[in-house]
């Protein structure tokens, strides 16, 4: 199983998913992020899915859960870089990713987090 690295820059945790996600990797990421949030007190999480070719119902649910977990640590999650084909497919699948913010790219995601006071 491959692991997704988490970077801390300022008060934000950055996650860029560059691997073909299998279920165990996503669950591991969820646990690692909760640990990092608790350890660092970061107040924002940016998850970059530019390289992610598909988001199915399991991955979608995990992303939503990461948003909920982050909120328990007073941190906001922004998912950035979703491919157009992924957005169309997710919608048809019936997933709305409610509870997490999305932004076009990492820069816009960071603006959302920085606007948070």
């Amino acid at each position: 199983m491959e692991q997704v690295p988490i970077l801390k820059i300022g008060q934000t945790l950055f996650v860029s998913i560059q691997i073909d996600l299998q279920d165990e990797s996503v669950m591991r990421l969820q646990e690692d992020l909760a640990d990092e949030l608790a350890a660092t007190g970061a107040n924002g999480v940016i998850i970059d899915i530019t390289a992610v070719e598909i988001v199915d119902s399991f991955i979608g649910r995990m992303l939503t859960m990461i948003g909920s977990i982050s909120r328990l640590f007073d941190a906001e999650t922004v998912i950035v870089g979703m491919r157009p084909a992924v957005a169309i497919t997710l919608t048809e699948l019936g997933l709305s990713l409610s509870g997490v913010r999305t932004a076009l790219n990492a820069e816009k995601g960071l603006e959302i987090l920085n606007g948070k006071t």
Binding site: Q22, D56, G60
Partner: protein
């Protein structure tokens, strides 16, 4: 016809990659490739989690009017599904998922056929046609 075993999470990833390749090589648009690969991911996970593992087959088919399609078969010898209609309902789940796997996969493809026998296993066939 390519046949792939599904016994682990890694195998699910491999199925997705092979389906992606087959879809791209046979002229499906990027959106249609993504839909088919997403459906394959849902169905391969079902085969693994609910069917206790099984087999995926990838086949290239031609329609009467000359269109090319990618047909996928997922077969397991697991416990089977007692109520097919219920299993295809949005939001109905046998586990702790969202209940969008089967019903969502059906929406993402052009043809969908589900057969199951309690105690004998489940097979799902889907097709996505090039436009």
């Amino acid at each position: 016809m390519d046949e792939l075993r599904i016994r682990s999470g890694d195998d699910v990833v491999r199925v997705r990659q092979q389906v992606r390749n087959a879809a791209a090589e046979n002229g499906l648009s990027l959106v249609d490739q993504t839909k088919l690969v997403t459906a394959a991911s849902e169905l391969a996970r079902n085969t693994l989690v609910h069917g206790g593992g099984g087999v995926a087959q990838i086949e290239i088919v031609k329609s009467a009017n000359g269109r090319t399609g990618v047909r996928l078969h997922f077969t397991d010898e697991g416990p089977g599904i007692a109520n097919l209609e219920l299993a295809l309902t949005d939001g109905w789940t046998s586990g702790n998922g969202l209940g969008l796997g089967l019903s969502g996969a059906r929406r993402l493809v052009d043809e969908f056929e589900l057969n199951s026998k309690v105690g004998a296993g489940t097979s799902v066939m889907v097709v996505k046609w090039s436009r």
